[in-house]
């Protein structure tokens, strides 16, 4: 698309600003915090989703949905600069935060990269209108970081595939519509060479969605049990047994999360727990004047801004090709470590309130629970350990870790004493 066909980003920004101000409500941070902390009721949660679908539809109708997606699939065909302008104008306003990840990226991104023309025409506009919400079915109970070791199996039966197995850590599968699923189609070749990607609706026979309770009470994550689920071959994404080609790109999109131009994310609206800054916590805990506490406040801010600038550098480098796609792991690693440290800082500042608190303790209330959950920042979306492997091996070119599953038929890979039990 020629540059002169594109609306000037500044003009776009002005248009976005006036539309946002006249059409959207201001963000209620406490509602967001409750939703993220797992404190919202099922009813509230579903009402929230409904509102987000509605806003997404308003975006679509106003020409703000899929800013960087191709026009032929309902997007705006604009540039990351436009998306950035839109994000900035959106700051402080409500926006469909649950619809961003994994719905737009990686799911929609993977469909755009590998889907058939028919799949794209059917699903991308539906996603942009908020009619279809997508989730990724990637991890498995027995798999840990090793997503390519998927044991969920798809067996061909004429024009259909029959899927059996279990997937886990799917955010919000209980209120979503469609899933992107990595499955094994061949057990007799090494693990990366026997995978295939499928898509299917989540609420139909053969799919049993079970909500998992996290230690903080949140039930957003789900586990799916697939039992003789029949999927037409037309709902296959990419070639048979070449699902890992899709998977590599899929995980790149996952690591790019907050930097993907497909994602709408106002600055400052990071999906982190708590509704107060470390300075708010210090004020409400009565320790704002303490210089050790102020050191911690400063440290949290340093990590926050350094993480933001790093994200931008990596995103810019990946766009221009100066940094390889695998470089996204650098920002993922930093974000995970900094996130966990920030939860610890808030907990430390809360002092005794970190162990026991009342609802009157303001920003210092409940930080003990956020501390319990702090490693989520280093686990969700691919562990920091995997990111370190990717950085050392793919970015720095260091020797690959020895594995006992490289050139062995997947069927013969050692799985350990209790793998059977754990993987159901």
């Amino acid at each position: 698309m020629a540059a002169d066909n594109i609306e000037d980003p500044e003009a776009f920004r002005q248009r976005a600003r006036s539309w946002i101000r006249s059409n959207l409500e201001l963000m209620d941070r406490s509602v967001l915090a409750a939703a993220l902390g797992g404190g919202a009721s099922e009813e509230t949660e579903l009402a929230g989703i409904r509102r987000e679908r509605e806003i997404q539809r308003m975006f679509f109708d106003a020409g703000f949905a899929g800013i960087c997606m191709p026009r032929e699939y309902g997007g705006q065909g604009l540039t990351p600069a436009h998306q950035r302008a839109f994000n900035e104008e959106l700051a402080g306003y409500e926006f469909p935060h649950r619809l961003q990840a994994p719905n737009f990226s990686p799911c929609a991104a993977v469909i755009l990269d590998f889907g058939t023309e028919e799949q794209k025409r059917r699903h991308i506009p539906a996603i942009l209108k908020g009619e279809e919400l997508w989730m990724q079915l990637l991890s498995e109970p027995g798999g840990g970081s090793d997503v390519a070791a998927a044991q969920t199996t798809a067996v061909r039966d004429g024009d259909e595939w029959v899927l059996n197995g279990s997937k886990i850590w799917t955010t919000g599968a209980w209120w979503s519509d469609w899933g992107l699923c990595l499955a094994r189609t061949n057990w007799d070749v090494p693990k990366h060479r026997g995978l295939t990607v499928f898509i299917f609706p989540l609420h139909r026979e053969g799919v049993d969605v079970h909500r998992i309770e996290m230690l903080n009470g949140s039930k957003e994550f789900c586990q799916e049990f697939l039992t003789d689920l029949r999927v037409p071959d037309t709902d296959r994404v990419g070639e048979v047994d070449e699902g890992w080609t899709v998977g590599v790109r899929w995980m790149f999109h996952e690591r790019m999360l907050y930097n993907s131009p497909l994602v709408t994310l106002p600055p400052g609206a990071r999906f982190t727990p708590g509704s107060g800054s470390p300075a708010d916590v210090a004020r409400d805990a009565g320790v704002l004047a303490d210089s050790h506490v102020r050191d911690l406040i400063g440290e949290a801010r340093v990590l926050d801004i350094a993480g933001r600038e790093l994200q931008q550098r990596i995103a810019q480098g990946v766009r221009s090709g100066r940094i390889s796609d695998q470089g996204a792991a650098i920002a993922r690693l930093f974000g995970g470590v900094a996130g966990a440290r920030t939860r610890t800082i808030e907990f430390e500042i809360a002092g005794a309130m970190g162990g026991a608190w009342t609802d009157d303790d303001g920003a210092a209330a409940g930080l003990g629970v956020d501390f319990l959950m702090r490693q989520a920042a280093c686990i969700g979306g691919g562990t920091t350990e995997m990111a370190r492997n990717v950085i050392s091996e793919r970015v720095l070119g260091m020797p690959r870790e020895r594995s006992s599953d490289r050139d062995v038929p997947f069927r013969e890979v050692p799985r350990g004493p209790s793998a059977g039990a754990r993987s159901r």
Binding site: S139, P141, G143, G144, S145, D146, A149, I168, W169, I212, E213, M214, L215, N216, G217, F221, G286, V287, H292, A340, E348, A350, G351, A352, M353, G354, G355, A356, W357, T358, D359, A365, G366, G368, V369, F371, L372, Q375, A376, C378, I379, G380, T383, T384, E385, R388, E401, R402, S403, S404, D405, V408, V413, P414, R415, G416, P417, S418, A419, R422
Partner: protein, 376 residues
């Protein structure tokens, strides 16, 4: 925990360990989340029969230790409480029982007997907001033949379940301790949220609560030394309990690392994880070492006791949390689910870290001893 316990101590510890494994397995702890009291009266009474409440009490008052070093024996119980994330007011009953016994045991003999028998519990109303490890600002005033108490204590362990509250405060320039029966007019007990599933905490408010003069424990205005010893005792219990949580989380995770395969080989074969286990092992052993050193110093009333309890609390508070969080990380997503057991120990360690002075507060306390501030 003691590297070389006597066979009596080992038998005692194993008895408690077995009882806890039977009575409060992880599933039961998870169930207690919805139990307002957090523990069962019968469970506590049977624990008292095992010796949980008598170790700091003089034989003359119905107590007694195994080894002649009651606090050391008690660390074995606290350690097992940590290893099982066990319910019950272990800290507060022992601190109160010890205080009553040291004060002579006679005046409050009935209360002490019931606490020893486990038929009722007593709570220690000590901490206040931002008051550090002092008797606090709560005011204790003599009016005729009565004492009048006014102030607020938080967090107070198992206050709502206790028949008696041992309240510390100030009368004039001196520290005083008073035993207040539950239900005394002017006493309000407001529940708090906590990270732990089984422990319960409250804000205890005393609005001109009146008790007879003989409710005092020890000598009015002269309780500073007693309170300091109680603080040390409480810290020893918390540290031993934290070390128990560290040990359990570590053991669970070592086992997981051997069992769990990734890329065709056990997690335990990955050098990066092996090295983290090595660091954890060094923190764990150092945790055992400082917690034991603190217990021994307090038991023997050594001059360095005050510093050692702060060193131990600062150390296990910081490294205990880091160790268990690393265990969570190695478990991956399963480690932050409610159905997994790991968080039970993370919760207990997190609670203990926040009680009776955070690591940062204890580091300040250590620095204050090392380098008194001339200019303040």
């Amino acid at each position: 925990m003691l590297l070389e316990p006597t066979s009596d101590q080992e038998f005692f510890r194993e008895n408690t360990a077995k009882f806890l494994s039977d009575q409060v397995p992880p599933g039961e702890i998870r169930r207690l989340r919805d139990d307002p009291d957090g523990f069962d009266a019968d469970y506590w009474r049977r624990g008292a029969e095992l010796g949980w409440t008598s170790l700091l009490v003089d034989e003359a008052h119905g107590g007694g230790s195994l080894s002649g070093q009651g606090l050391i024996d008690l660390t074995l119980v606290a350690y097992e409480f940590g290893r099982h994330a066990a319910p019950g007011p272990l800290l507060s009953t022992n601190v109160v029982a010890s205080a009553l016994s040291r004060a002579g045991g006679e005046e409050h003999g009935t209360v002490l007997d019931a606490v020893l028998a486990g038929t009722s519990t007593a709570s220690w109303c000590f901490q206040e907001r931002l008051a550090g490890l002092t008797a606090g600002a709560l005011e204790i005033r003599v009016e005729g033949d009565e004492l009048v108490l006014s102030g607020e204590k938080r967090p107070v362990e198992h206050a709502a379940q206790a028949a008696h509250l041992l309240v510390t405060g100030r009368s004039g320039d001196g520290a005083t301790q008073v035993l207040v029966p539950a239900g005394t007019p002017g006493l309000t007990i407001r529940p708090m949220h906590t990270v732990d599933l089984a422990r319960r905490f409250s804000i205890v408010r005393l609005d001109a609560v009146r008790v007879p003069l003989d409710a005092v424990v020890g000598t009015p205005g002269q309780a500073a030394e007693q309170v300091e010893h109680q603080v040390q005792t409480a810290l020893v219990i918390l540290c031993a309990e934290t070390v128990g949580t560290m040990q359990r989380a570590f053991d669970m995770t070592v086992e997981w690392a051997f069992d769990r395969y990734s890329f065709g080989r056990p997690l335990a074969s990955y050098q990066e994880l092996k090295h983290r286990f090595a660091d954890m092992k060094s923190w764990l052993e150092a945790g055992h070492a400082v917690a034991d050193a603190a217990a021994l110093a307090v038991e023997s009333r050594a001059p360095e006791a005050n510093e050692l309890v702060s060193v131990a609390k600062a150390f296990v508070g910081q490294y205990g949390g880091e160790l268990i969080q690393d265990c969570v990380q190695i478990h991956g997503g399963i480690g932050v689910t409610f159905d997994h057991d790991l968080h039970l120990f993370l919760r207990r360690a997190t609670l203990d870290r926040a009680l009776m002075g955070t690591p940062a507060e204890h580091r300040q306390r250590i620095a204050a001893d090392l380098a008194p501030q001339e200019d303040r």
